[in-house]
């Protein structure tokens, strides 16, 4: 299987602090890939490095065999990588529908000039975008919230809205940063079904960071465990769960 995303020797420092150390991996196309590690082990930093929020101190990121290291975040999104955030980053004063529409407009490259001038081609696009956005909301069971300001939505729905917004940019790679954070067991159950469904329906590769062992073990097909920016174990879920270093660094403490 060809690697969709490939990271080679990535190291990142915040001042003198080494957040990510010589990190390398390939993510094959079509997989649900899980990255786990304790708090402060550099997981979110890795997402920030992939999406261009930070530029790595050393190393390279390749997406579809193209070097995207240090590219601007909006270009990276347009090239097909979308993400969600650990602490929700929804545009709270926009409606749920507008949150999706904005991602569709910009994530899939419509120029600012046409959107201001409202050219005929744009009007057609506008209708198509609205239709697709409503479909996405429907998929996430959020249709009834379309016209509502996002700030009025409950937490679980906001999490789903954020995933819908990321999907709206038509990604090939979807990065989920702790999607189950703060969810109750029933919501977690639904979310797991949803992620698998999204992968099958949209043919996206999913790369998720998670604390929640049930989620990682339940849906990921390949898992990598890191601690202080270094890999301590990787493989299929069953194998990783038995690694002594994993039990010690992470699972043991949680008793999972």
């Amino acid at each position: 299987m060809p690697a969709l995303l490939s990271i080679k020797g990535m190291t990142h420092f915040f001042g003198g602090l080494k957040a990510v150390s010589n990190f390398s991996y390939d993510i094959p196309e079509g997989i649900i890939y899980g990255l786990i590690g304790p708090n402060g082990s550099g997981k979110t930093t890795i997402f920030n490095l992939i999406t261009g929020i930070y530029s790595p101190t050393e190393g390279k990121v390749f997406f579809k065999d193209k070097d995207i290291t240090g590219a601007k975040p909006y270009k990276i999104v347009q090239s097909g990588i979308a993400r969600t955030f650990q602490n929700l980053r929804i545009f709270s004063s926009l409606t749920a529908l507008d949150n999706i529409k904005i991602a569709k407009h910009f994530g899939s490259k419509s120029s600012l000039a046409t959107s201001v001038l409202r050219l005929p081609s744009f009007m057609n696009e506008e209708i198509a975008i609205k239709k697709e956005s409503l479909e996405l909301l429907d998929l996430m069971h959020l249709s009834h919230r379309a016209k509502e300001n996002a700030k009025n939505l409950p937490y679980g729905e906001l999490r789903r809205l954020e995933i819908a917004r990321a999907l709206a940019t038509k990604p090939q790679l979807l990065l989920l940063d702790e999607p189950a954070a703060g969810m109750n067991p029933k919501e977690v159950e639904e979310l797991m079904g949803l992620i698998t469904h999204i992968r099958n329906e949209f043919k996206v590769t999913v790369f998720l960071i998670e604390h929640h062992m049930q989620v990682v073990m339940g849906i990921c097909e390949y898992i990598k465990v890191i601690d202080f920016g270094e890999t301590i174990a990787e493989g299929i879920p069953e194998a990783v769960a038995k690694e002594p270093r994993v039990l010690e660094a992470y699972l043991g403490k949680r008793g999972a």
């Binding site: 975040p73 909006y74 999104v77 979308a82 545009f91 926009l94 904005i102 600012l112 201001v116």
Partner: protein
Amino acid sequence: MGAIFNAQQIVNGLQVGSIYALIALGYTMVYGIVRLINFAHGDFYMLGAYAAYGVFFAFNALFVGKTGLMAFVVLIASMAAGGLIALLTNRLAYKPLRYKPKLSSLITAIGVSMFLEYFLSALPVVGPSYRSFPDILPRVNINLGNAVISNYVIIDIVIAAVLMVGLTLLIKKTTLGMAMRAVSQDKDAARLMGIDIEKVIAFTFLIGGSFAGAAGLLAGMTYPRIVPYMGIQPGLKAFIAAVLGGIGNIPGAVLGAYIMGLAETFASAYNSLIGEGIAFAILIVVLLVRPRGLLGEKFADKI
């Protein structure tokens, strides 16, 4: 009291408020998007007035008998000048400091403001002294019984209203407007939705600057003289209006501007020195009583 709170003063107050509103919008939009108090904004207003003045004298001979068209060209020139200088200021002065400490941009803004004022004063074609602004349109006074309204008052109020309605449509109805709202809320999330935030910021400066330019033209016509330092006072007062309405909040800036315009006019009718000072009294009261302004949202610290 009748001499202070009458129809005449209300109309005058609305006129002053319209000019403040056009300036205040630029302050508040730029603040909303980059969290910068752009102290050079009052100078965009001044440059709008000078551009109008220059274009009028350069091309007036071509527009004999077509004063309406000339006035329109002058309006476009003032808006273009204000908008372009705002765009250039953003590109050259603020963009390199975007991710540096906020204080650097703030001090730079003061520097840009001084540069524009003194550079224009030093230019032989402009010079540091007052110039009288031509009557671009003939002045007509309309007698309404208990108030006399000049057609300039109506022009000021109407042009400001038209521009503000246009801005509202832009922000509410277009994708660009949606992007502006998204960037003002969360820059990182906006970038990760594919928005080129630098473009959105540039557009914001362009629009804010062009509104200030238009305000400069209106002020030049209304109080017919201009000088390179003319932007300082209205700039400060429009800034106070934006703070009064809740900085970063667009309807708030307009509301604040009209309140300021009316308050200043009423106070001036009582005593012109109090009129000059009332803006600052309002600022102090707002900062003490309701620092987030009339329509401003509660500041929430982001994690």
